[in-house]
């Protein structure tokens, strides 16, 4: 019962005309405000609202002011184990309706060689099991952040139903993460 009230539901609120709302979830709070600024400034035709959060569940007291969420983005920083764990735990508070094209993962810090590859595999496995797209972003340069924001904006517009003849589900079915079989084997038996 308690879990049910904390769950974030996709269809609890009625959609507003010409509007799109995105929820950025990041435990470290390094990137999400920068992304939010660019997303909001880049789009002039549609009214875009960005909600920032550290983790799910979201505070209950904001429930009334919170608009209908069209896209949930989990930002995972591979440099920190906590970031991966936080994303894993937050995913549980999403209603299953979100996984039909309203969730994506954004990974940063994958370029760094010192990062253990098991974290990346964990995130990959999570994304592929949930049938969500997995995006990679460069957070050190401003160009990288802009590119990531533009990509998210494209997905958001589709997920919010602002693009004719495209739905979030159809986009999701072609972009979702697939774990290659050899990687899966590697993950199952780390010795080989």
């Amino acid at each position: 019962m308690k879990l049910r009230t904390k769950m974030l539901k996709p269809f609890r609120k009625v959609p507003v005309l010409n509007a799109a709302n995105v929820l950025l979830v990041e435990n470290e709070e390094h990137l999400h405000s920068r992304l939010a600024d660019i997303i909001v400034q880049n789009e002039k035709d549609v009214n875009i609202t960005v909600r920032l959060a550290r983790k799910l569940p979201l505070p209950v007291e904001n429930q009334d002011s919170r608009p209908r969420i069209d896209l949930v983005v989990f930002i995972v920083n591979l440099m920190s184990e906590r970031s991966v764990q936080s994303a894993e735990q937050s995913v549980r508070y999403l209603d299953s309706g979100f996984f039909l094209g309203k969730v994506c993962f954004l990974v940063t810090g994958a370029r760094c060689l010192s990062v253990s590859s098991t974290r990346l595999l964990t995130v990959r496995k999570m994304a592929s099991s949930l049938h969500c797209p997995l995006l990679f972003a460069e957070d050190q340069t401003s160009e990288g952040v802009i590119a990531a924001a533009v990509r998210l904006l494209g997905i958001l517009k589709v997920a919010a139903g602002l693009v004719p003849f495209a739905t979030g589900l159809s986009l999701n079915s072609v972009t979702h993460c697939i774990l290659p079989s050899d990687l899966e084997q590697n993950l199952d038996s780390p010795t080989c």
């Binding site: 929820l23 435990n27 470290e28 939010a36 600024d37 960005v50 920032l52 959060a53 505070p59 904001n62």
Partner: protein, 357 residues
């Protein structure tokens, strides 16, 4: 016969050490000191030192390579017949201007006598010199006043038949009328001598280690004296204009805004805000027993204490801890182990098991 032989040997030794050319010691010290001073600070330091004539100072060209400059300075000092006393003054001037070259340890004077508050510089100087001279021979002391009430003391230690070693001096910094003393580069052998002298000269009952050390003298002093922007815990939320972050786009909203503000406040209460003193390390020596899951059998071994040293290091430790708490990396109610760095003004802690106390 053997007694006579011994005496002869010691006399010979004494002669050997005293016959060491005074200029040699002075020259080595001068060269070492000059080598320590970076070229861009050399001009200013030499000017302050004022043991070179105006003409000599003007003839120095600071754009030349340091090696040539050094040669010239040494020859000038030889012309002026400067002694170790003068050269050690140069070292002292440089050290006073740049007090971040060694590790400073803080000591706490306790049990002040009634007339401790009325102590003046002249009296302290006299007392310090006479008390230390009583305790040990062959020690060279230099006392200077720097910035309003701060006293700087340079001590070069010697022994009965050994001249003071000017290459490894101890520096002591004390503000009159405060119970704190800061000491740099003190060997354990000379520790009791200096402590006793300080206690007597400052008219206090005893002295103890304050368990605080750092490379930045000002930071160590500011932390002990609470001389930084502190925030005191209140039940009230602070006024909005003070807390609110820079305005963002109206369409961006943070779900955990209140939480973030609270964390920020907790961090400020624990570690101060704005410019906090720059501490480099905090060390915790744990002498506790291991408790927890039985999977690690080797650690649960019997009743033996589990000894470990945990050290946090950063260029500015308090700032790092502040950031950890305000960004949510560390848990929001700050552990008293961390917050007591500022509250007690210490950065060395020994944690013992409750049962052992």
């Amino acid at each position: 016969m053997s007694l006579l032989f011994n005496i002869v040997i010691s006399v010979v030794l004494y002669v050997c050490f005293t016959s060491l050319n005074m200029d040699d010691v002075a020259r080595t010290l001068l060269q070492r000191t000059l080598r320590k001073i970076p070229t861009r600070k050399l001009e200013e330091t030499i000017k302050k030192w004022s043991h070179l004539s105006r003409r000599q100072q003007q003839s120095l060209n600071y754009t030349q390579s340091k090696w040539i400059l050094l040669q010239k300075l040494v020859s000038f000092c030889e012309d002026n017949e400067l002694t170790v006393r003068h050269v050690s003054e140069l070292e002292m001037i440089y050290c006073m201007e740049n007090p971040n070259l060694g590790t400073w340890k803080a000591c706490h004077l306790t049990d002040a006598e009634d007339d401790a508050t009325s102590l003046d510089l002249m009296c302290f100087k006299e007392q310090f010199k006479s008390h230390l001279a009583e305790l040990t021979r062959n020690v060279s002391i230099k006392i200077k006043k720097h910035e309003n009430e701060t006293i700087w003391i340079r001590i070069a230690w010697g022994e009965n038949f050994i001249k003071p070693n000017h290459l490894k001096p101890t520096y002591v910094v004390h503000d009159l009328q405060t119970p704190y003393v800061f000491i740099c580069n003190l060997s354990s052998k000379n520790k009791p001598l200096l402590y006793q002298t300080l206690v007597l000269a400052t008219k206090h009952g005893s002295i103890k280690d304050a368990h605080l050390s750092g490379r930045n003298l000002h930071a160590v002093r500011d932390l002990l004296m609470g001389n930084y922007h502190q925030t005191f815990p209140t039940n009230h939320q602070r006024p909005l204009e003070e807390m609110s972050p820079p305005p963002t786009h109206p369409n961006i909203e943070n779900e955990h805004k209140e939480h973030a503000e609270k964390r920020q406040q907790v961090a400020c209460e624990a570690f101060g805000e704005g410019k906090v003193p720059k501490l480099e390390t905090a060390t915790y020596t744990l002498e506790t027993r291991f408790r927890g899951g039985g999977s690690i059998d080797t650690l649960v071994d019997g009743e033996k204490p589990f000894r470990t040293v945990v050290q946090f290091a950063s260029t500015s430790l308090l700032e790092s801890l502040h950031h950890c708490v305000s960004s949510g990396i560390a848990d929001a109610p700050v552990s008293p182990l961390l917050s007591s760095i500022t509250q007690k003004g210490r950065n060395y802690f020994v944690i013992t098991d409750k049962a052992d106390r």
